[in-house]
């Protein structure tokens, strides 16, 4: 077995807005092919962590490496080109653009993907293929989420950051998306970090569940342990 650097390694990360320390010395690693759930109450720093990894929120200390490459001081587009894809909370689709254009924007900033890869991504979400010429803004929440994930995957990332993907989506669709994504990750070796409040989605996909509290990781459970005792997680989520 060759020793591969983790898809994502975060050490002592301090980050926040306007000098605040939303993240305060956070450590976390996600191995290639691994799916990690990141759970915690609102305001504990889940979204800030995603954005800090992406380079959107300024970091004041610590180290973030993607597949062994340091990302300090890099613009979001450079970090994206290291193989990080981001589906932000609220999805940030280009609402006035068609499905096709949104997907194209997912690849335009990257090297040409292997032929056939786009088809494999579209095969995950057949609805997109049917409505390829429709404007993204006309989609339902679930369809938009599928498009946002497809747009992220189509660049063939090694790491996918998903921020609250289940928000505002029917549970049945959440389960469907989670199942397909988990299978896709196993097949392709994609690492996923998924910030959620929905334990069901995390249990369906993740191999591990990390708890974030006051800007740091306070617990890290294998998913089997969470399944056996959901209380491990839920007591941290309760207000």
């Amino acid at each position: 077995m060759t020793l591969r650097p983790p898809a994502l390694a975060i050490e002592g990360l301090v980050a926040g807005y306007g000098g605040s320390r939303v993240l305060d010395g956070l450590d976390l690693a996600v191995a290639a092919g691994e799916v990690v759930g990141l759970m915690g109450r609102n305001g504990m720093g889940k979204s800030t962590l995603m954005r800090a990894v992406m380079g959107v929120v300024p970091r004041t200390a610590g180290r973030v490496t993607v597949a062994g490459r340091d990302t300090a001081g890099l613009a979001p587009f450079t970090i994206a080109r290291f193989g990080v894809a981001f589906v932000p909370q609220g999805r940030d689709l280009f609402a006035d653009f068609t499905v096709m254009e949104n997907l194209e924007l997912g690849v335009l900033g990257h090297e040409r993907p292997r032929p056939g890869f786009a088809d494999a991504v579209l095969a995950l979400f057949p609805i997109l293929k049917e409505r390829i010429g429709q404007k993204a803004g006309t989609f339902s929440g679930g369809q938009q989420q599928q498009l946002a994930i497809a747009r992220a995957l189509i660049s063939r990332p090694r790491l996918l950051l998903l921020d609250e993907p289940s928000e505002g989506i029917q549970p049945s669709i959440v389960a469907e998306i989670a199942g397909r994504l988990a299978a896709f990750a196993t097949e392709t070796g994609l690492a996923i970090l998924i910030a959620e409040q929905n334990l069901d989605m995390v249990m369906r996909m993740a191999g591990r569940c990390a708890m974030i509290e006051n800007g740091g990781i306070t617990a890290d459970h294998p998913i089997a342990a969470v399944r056996a005792a959901p209380d491990l997680v839920t007591r941290h989520l309760a207000l």
Binding site: A75, P76, F77, D92, F94, L105, L108, G109
Partner: protein, 283 residues
């Protein structure tokens, strides 16, 4: 009457040509380029000096946008890049640049006005009366540039990424789109359009260091009146600003026309902050 209409159309198209470069830079980078008039000026000088050195009009017409694209790249790198996040300061910084450029031109070529010759000065008959062919050529260039800009933004990959950056700069960057490169290219493109406009207009104007301001303000008013959210707004704004100006100048005088048009434009901008075509409001 017909010639008045043609002259009016000519003015409208020239404003649109100048405004096109402004709105591309404003829309994509949220930068108000107050030095746009001086880039126009440099374009006119490029043509005039190329001709003086024995080059042809056509050489000057090609050199002007190329040279100005380089000037645009330099300005973006040295000045504009450092004030992106301070919106009002982009106005001031480019304003300072406009003063410096104007003065550099005075130093290099003197304050006096120069001339530029059109490549042809025959007249064509339109409904039995002669009209200068070169003015028709200017209109054709303007229409071609406007059409080309539309094609670039709505039919090419560059245009798709540019529109994505306009819609959501941060998300576009997260998707791997090199926003820095796009900013450089956009500013260079805007500067090249100003240079082309200056070169093509030079034979019709007195080429002097003050010529930039005369077009800058109407062009700004045109994009604000039309709305900055959409390229079509430029056309609507140019028609309103240029058309009103031509009509009033014909009925009264150019002075009255300018006063009325500027005042009306402020009223329209105040009543329709998104422009008559609509689109996003900018701060």
């Amino acid at each position: 009457m017909l010639f008045a209409a043609l002259d009016g159309l000519n003015y409208v198209l020239v404003i649109a040509l100048v405004a096109m470069g402004l709105v591309v830079v404003f829309g994509l980078m949220n930068v108000i380029n107050m030095a746009h008039g001086e880039l126009f000026l440099l374009g006119a000088y490029t043509l005039s000096i190329t001709e003086m050195l024995g080059g042809s009009f056509w050489l000057g017409l090609i050199l002007a946008p190329l040279l100005l694209a380089l000037v645009g790249l330099a300005i973006e790198e040295l000045v504009v890049r450092h004030v992106y996040h301070r919106f009002l300061d982009t106005i001031l910084a480019t304003w300072g640049l406009s003063i410096a450029i104007k003065q550099a031109v005075v130093l290099a070529f003197g304050p006096q006005s120069r001339t530029a010759s059109p490549p042809f000065d025959f007249a064509v008959e339109i409904f039995g009366a002669p009209y200068p062919a070169y003015r028709l050529f200017v209109m054709a260039v303007s229409v071609a540039v406007i059409a080309g800009t539309f094609l670039l933004f709505f039919r090419t990959r560059f245009g798709l990424t540019a529109r994505a950056v306009i819609a959501n700069r941060r998300m576009a960057s997260c998707l791997g789109i090199d926003t820095r490169r796009l900013d450089r290219l956009t500013f260079a493109f805007g500067a090249a359009l100003a240079g082309l406009a200056g070169a093509v207009m030079a034979p019709l104007m007195s080429v002097d260091p003050q010529m930039g301001l005369g077009f800058l303000v109407p062009a700004f008013l045109a994009i604000l009146v039309g709305g900055t959210g959409h390229l079509a707004g430029v056309l609507a704004g140019s028609v309103l600003v240029g058309g009103t100006d031509t009509v009033i100048a014909r009925l009264w005088s150019p002075v009255v026309a300018q006063i009325v048009v500027f005042t009306l434009a402020i009223v329209v901008i105040r009543l329709f902050p998104r422009g008559v075509v609509g689109g996003r409001e900018r701060r």
